[in-house]
Amino acid sequence: MAPGSKAGWRLDEKITFASERDMPPLAVSLGTMLVNKTGTWRYMRPVYEDKTPPCNHACPAGEKIQAYLELSKAGEFGRAWELIMEDNPLPSVCGRVCYHPCEQACNRSNFDEPLAIHHVERFLGDYGLRKNLKVKREAARSERVAVVGAGPAGLSCAYHLARKGYAVTIYEAQPVAGGMLAVGIPRYRLPRDILEKEIANICSLGVEIKTGIRIGLDIALDDLSGYQAVFIATGQHQSTRLDIPGQEARGVVYGLDLLRDLNLGRSVEMGRRVAVIGGGNTAMDAARSAVRQGARVTVVYRRSREEMPAIPEEIREAEEEGIQFLYLSAPKRVLVKNAAVGGLECLKMRLGEPDQSGRRRPIPVDGTEFILDVDTVIGAIGQEADLSFLPSGIATDRGGIQIDDHGVTTRPGTFSGGDVATGAGTVTAAIGSGKKAALAIHSYLSGEEMEEAFEPRVVAYEEINLDYFETAARPVMPRRQITERLAGFAEVVLGYTEAATLTEAQRCFSCGVCNHCDTCWLFCPDVAIAKVNHRDYLINYDYCKGCGVCVEECPRSAISMEEEMKWKK
């Protein structure tokens, strides 16, 4: 049947009137307009093209953040949890300890304040644990993989391989699994039961963790030859020495050692007046742990607050807990009294030109020495990897294992990731490198090609149509009272409620990703956009003139204009 107008005229029928009297009273075509294929006028065409939101791009673990925020908006927390678990087996952990580069990248930070992504992630992780949600596993494969180190990199690699069906065994030197998560990060930031539950989830996929076995001491790395692939993720567990006179005195300790002892429930000897040297997260953790032991704590940092590498929330919470900060100060020597710390001589610094890290270089100011009256000095100026267990054939580079972009070492079948290889020093980077190596191991064992990396098209703030958004503050994150905090190691940050999570997720711009808001569909002046399945949009190019209104109006830059093929040279 020829398409025609409901009024009864056919497309090919000439409409004639006996006289003007019979013509319609208003200027209207009686025949259907479908005959006029206005699409032929077009020289540009709109196409739906999802782009990369800056949060996704910034996440070292490769989480699909925008997508799980979108599910959270609808209260689909279970599906949101599953989505995170495709990339990261430790959302409850990361929601607590990640330094959230996603939030620094969030376009909303130019508008009011960035999405509280880590708070939402924490809620979703805890939701999965509370509801006892489980991840699916592919059919079992015959190949076995050994992972050295049960830190975030090792756990991540083991998890992704286990989901693919591989049999994975993790060897861990410490008596507990978790690496820095278990022995480095204090419990007030990451309660042990949360970590244990997420590790248990990984083990439920068939991953075996053998604790208390140190590779290089208990067994050699080469003894793992029964495995078809090995992933090394031993981390950086050695503190950088202070290297100042008097450092051998009793009472000079190192942050990582202190945190490990506290975390493992070992007795810790600590004075009443403590100086913590350094401005990173280990320094904050050590200082806040010392305060919880009843000490008066001063952090000595050689640059200013602005250059401190610790997460800003950590610094703020440390300040709230009464920790003093001495900026632009560096230790010069430990005053030794009866072989123990009798004080710390420091020197004032000033900031010079920026160094390689982009931060301004601290320069000592002669004659500004002063004495800090302390009986304990905690060094927390950096950490290094112990590479003594490595056999020849695995090359090292700048204090770590040398790897390529996929975690491949110089020895076939051996892969590496996490701090021992990258020195990145963050949980999420370790998780990301574990995942990357898992993909490389799968490709190595199965012969399947790895997906090619592509240059993402990241959405900039200027591409967001702000007319569609109103400013709104994040829900306030409840925190434990200071007095309660100082009384022990109870968790400080208390977590979002379901209602707060729903409210917060609503603020997401959904940069570059269509979330079916209907704006294009409503705005198309030619009604050339159709909705299919009550959800997706279909552009009818027979009639789309290429005016670009849909592209202009799209609140989130999920439609692009493309030159018509016929105009392309």
Binding site: L26, V28, T32
Partner: protein, 384 residues
């Protein structure tokens, strides 16, 4: 059910009872309460309509036109400067032959910034093709909204309902709120032809060449003229169902009168009081209230005023350089009568100045003591 409500709410209840489906409006004193009330009704679910907040009156009318073009029963309300800003779209609505109903709260135009009653805003829209009504009471306001849709949907032209700023808009009166079932019977929702429909696309409002433009305007004019009969029928049906009617123009104590006062809006109700007083003193004075201004009810006016010697028209408006606008319209309607009365023009109450019964008595007295109308209208109480 009887309620004591302000004139603005009488409009809102009228729109609610008419089951309007789309409201697009922008706030302006003294109209704001109309759309505030409707917005509340939409939010609470008392009215199943889409409320479109807009950034200007031009957009309000544009959105109302868009809504009406899809076949929806659409409503808006405005006043004064807002109406002036709509002007382009007011033409568009009429020539698109859309049965929109709009309430306009008569308010003076600035500068000389003013928020008070004055008819110059709506009378500036005289030649746009809209039907225009001027109401005297809150009950009449509500009833005219209902009649308005019935007339508009019959002749396919938009209807403007005018009420005086503050004197009606903010004044409480007892109003009978008709029963919804009866209103549904009086004003059923019907599906129109030639509407915007993505499944049956037509081209609207396109170019019309000189060979056909005049015919379209002729048809608009014919539709306006048919509006008189449509209004008479709508009024008669309304009386049959609800027991009230208003006519296009209404005579009050004109029998045996020698002088007819002519007024519209709230001045008509004040004039009734003045007429009663004059009659009480034995003076032969009556009133003609003009309710429908477009189309102009020339037949009714000719019939009611044909035999009079003197007619005094009171205008709360001014066409600069040619006097009161109702007065001009009346003169032209009477001109071809075999025995036409003398018409005396009076300008009163501009910018919300009080028009009291004494003002009307003064006008009656001034008219009585004159033999020939002056060339120009008298400005009552003007202090120059």
């Amino acid at each position: 059910m009887e309620k004591v409500i302000i004139g603005n709410y009488a409009v809102s209840y009228g729109a609610q009872l008419a089951r309007v489906q789309v409201i697009a409006a922008y706030p302006i004193t003294p109209q704001t309460q109309i759309v505030e009330k409707l917005a509340e009704m939409c939010a609470s679910g008392e009215l199943n309509a889409r409320f479109i907040p807009v950034e200007s009156e031009h957009s309000a009318m544009a959105s109302t036109i868009g809504a009406a073009a899809t076949g929806a029963r659409a409503f808006t309300a405005t006043s004064s400067q807002g109406l002036a800003l709509m002007h382009e779209m007011i033409h568009w609505a009429a020539a698109s032959r859309l049965p929109i109903v709009m309430a306009n709260v008569n308010r003076a135009l600035g500068p000389g910034w003013s928020i008070w009653a004055d008819q110059n805003d709506s009378l500036s829209q005289r030649d746009t093709g809209w039907l225009q009504f001027y109401c005297e009471s809150n009950q009449e306001v509500l009833d005219t909204v209902l009649q308005g849709y019935r007339i508009a949907e019959q002749v396919m032209l938009p209807v403007m309902i005018n009420l005086d700023g503050f004197l009606l808009s903010h004044t409480s009166e007892p109003v009978d709120i008709p029963d919804q079932a009866l209103v549904d019977k009086y004003l059923p929702l019907t599906r129109r032809h030639l509407i915007l429909d993505p499944d049956d696309p037509h081209s609207f409002c396109g170019l019309v060449d000189p060979g056909h433009y005049m015919e379209m305007r002729y048809k608009m004019h014919q539709a306006q003229l048919q509006g008189k009969e449509a209004a008479r029928e709508a009024d008669a049906q309304f009386k049959a169902i609800f027991g009230r009617s208003y006519g296009l123009a209404e005579g009050y104590r004109l029998e045996g009168a020698e002088l007819a006062l002519v007024a519209s809006g709230t001045i008509a109700s004040t004039s009734r009081v003045a007429v009663d007083r004059l009659r009480g003193r034995g003076e032969k004075v009556g009133l003609l209230k003009i309710r429908m201004f477009r189309p102009f009810p020339g037949e009714e006016v000719g019939e009611l005023l044909g035999g009079f010697k003197k007619v005094a028209v009171i205008d709360r408006n001014i066409s600069f350089g040619h006097g009161g606008i109702f007065c001009q319209e009346l003169k032209s309607a009477l001109y071809n009568l075999p025995q036409r009365p003398q018409v005396y023009g009076y300008i009163a109450g501009l910018g919300g100045r009080d028009v009291t019964p004494q003002t009307i008595l003064d006008i009656a007295e001034l008219t009585a003591c004159r033999d020939v109308p002056p060339a120009e209208a008298d400005w009552i109480g003007v202090k120059v």
